[in-house]
């Protein structure tokens, strides 16, 4: 049944990448429990616009939980308190009347705040560019299923490929490490025969690029897998460690 909520929001407001930010307080009145979290911010932004104030900048795109564009830290939890859910799929029915909700952007040295809750996550793209590709021959389309891959392996690769690159793992990590993201991107290709020719170069280049971009080091806190909206497991991090080991000691890549 639809109810309405009255909430107090404490939202991080920051004019630009280099300006100082602070938490501002807003009253969210008559918020329907059927709304998504982003729709709730839309309502607040309508109000702010009518009052002649600057609306809250936040990232969003598909609003179906598949694009990886949205995300904010809600009451200390990336994408909010629900397990395996992106912020756009978080509904207001999970909150109670009178709640105070803290909304902050992803925080990491490698992610610069563009404005308010909008964060520049191009560091993740740079990691992919360093080695997250496979080489394919040009010419006619190859036959489907020409290369035998077991169902189990295909499933594991797909589990890693479910990563939408939202950056919640970095936001959740006490060390702001991008290990879960990088390991998912390495794993999805390392598991399949198509990714084998570049495996060594990929592992080394992607890990070194990740380090260079200023992400922290993994200390196996497991917060990333607990917060990942696609529930990607740290088994992938162990696989990346093995890939990096093989590449470092048994390949020609320097």
């Amino acid at each position: 049944m639809t109810k309405t909520l009255n909430l107090t929001l404490r939202v991080w407001r920051q004019k630009g990448p280099d300006s100082a930010g602070k938490l501002e307080t807003y009253d969210a009145k008559n918020i329907s429990t059927d709304m998504s979290f982003l729709e709730m911010i839309d309502v607040i932004n309508e109000q702010l616009t009518l009052e002649g104030k600057e609306p809250i900048a936040f990232d969003h795109d598909c609003r179906e939980g598949i694009c990886g564009m949205c995300g904010a830290v809600v009451n200390g939890r990336p994408h909010g308190p629900e397990k395996g859910t992106t912020l756009c799929q978080l509904h207001m029915r999970h909150f109670s009347d009178g709640d105070t909700i803290f909304i902050e952007p992803w925080r990491s040295r490698a992610f610069k705040i563009i404005k308010d809750l909008a964060v520049d996550r191009s560091a993740l793209d740079i990691i992919i560019q360093a080695g997250g590709y496979v080489s394919v021959n040009t010419g006619g389309a190859p036959d489907a299923n020409a290369i035998p891959i077991s169902q189990e392996t295909a499933e594991k690769a797909m589990d890693a490929a479910a990563c939408i690159g939202c950056g919640a793992c970095v936001a959740a990590c006490p060390n702001a490490s991008a290990m879960l993201f990088t390991s998912a991107k390495i794993s999805q290709l390392a598991l399949l025969p198509q990714g084998k020719p570049e495996a060594a170069k990929r592992a080394i280049e992607m890990v070194r690029t990740m380090d260079k971009l200023g992400f922290g080091n993994c200390t196996n806190e497991r917060e990333c897998e607990a917060e990942c909206p696609k529930e990607i497991s740290i088994v992938n991090i162990a696989r990346m460690n093995r890939e990096f080991f093989k590449a470092s000691f048994f390949s020609d890549v320097k």
Binding site: R10, L23, V73, N75, G76, R77, K83, F102, E104, R107, S108, R109, A110, A172, P174, N175, A176, S177, M179, V207, R208, M210, D211, G214, F215, G216, N217, C218, T219, N220, E221, R222, E223, C224, E225, A226, E227, I234, V235, I237, A238, R239, M240, N241, R242, F244, F245, S248, F249, K254
Partner: protein, 213 residues
């Protein structure tokens, strides 16, 4: 050699250093505990164990240097990771909650580590670099544990060891790439069991000694 340095200064390389040295300390704890268990069967058993241990000669001095070398690597790498990890998030969250991944062991790792290094220094001063002429190691232990401050300090340190190892043990396996649905649940349980055995095995020594005086 450029690749070698690059490998071990990478984030994964540093993890390996922590894991390999840490696992070898687990091995040390096991042998140290097995030896010290002779304390529970009395003065003579412990003294003769100590004698046998020292008669190993060069084996012992090599192990000591190895442990010292590993200790330096573990502490320095740990400090570098600690500082880098603080720097990687220059602006902290106003509100941050755990999603259930962290444990007491995992989030206290650098702090329990610093407590342990202080303990190890004191421990070596008390029992290793102590003047052993005209006395037995059992008497030294007995005298130390006649002081309540020592008993409390030692038990506290053993709780800290157990907490540190409860995260360190399974974490080392994860770092070395040994994570598999078949055996990870066992490794996690073995880590908890190991930390309990170490904590209780060492922790009861001062209690036992002070009761048998």
């Amino acid at each position: 050699m450029g690749w070698f340095i690059k490998t071990f200064t990478s984030s994964i390389g540093k993890k390996w250093l922590m894991a390999i040295t840490g696992l070898s300390f687990c091995g040390f704890l096991t042998s140290h505990l097995l030896g010290n268990l002779t304390l529970y069967s009395g003065k003579d058993a412990f003294n003769s164990y100590a004698e046998h241990l020292h008669s190993l000669g060069v084996l012992i001095s090599v192990s000591e240097k190895g442990l010292l070398f590993f200790g330096i690597i573990h502490v320095l790498t740990g400090l570098v990771l600690f500082i880098q990890n603080i720097k990687s998030r220059p602006v902290r969250y106003s509100v941050k909650k755990s999603a259930g991944g962290r444990t007491i062991g995992s989030f206290t790792m650098p702090y329990t580590g610093l407590v342990l290094i202080a303990f190890i220094v004191l421990h070596l001063i008390n029992f290793h670099f102590v003047d052993k002429t005209g006395t037995t190691i059992y008497q030294i232990v007995q005298e130390a544990f006649s002081k309540p401050v020592y008993i409390i300090g030692y038990i506290f340190a053993m709780i800290v060891v157990a907490v540190h190892v409860s995260h360190g043990f399974w974490s080392a396996f994860q770092t070395l790439g040994v994570n598999h649905p078949k055996y990870m649940p066992f490794i996690r349980k073995a880590g908890i069991a190991f930390s309990l055995i170490v904590g209780l095995g060492f922790g009861f020594i001062p209690v036992f000694i002070s009761l048998t005086i």
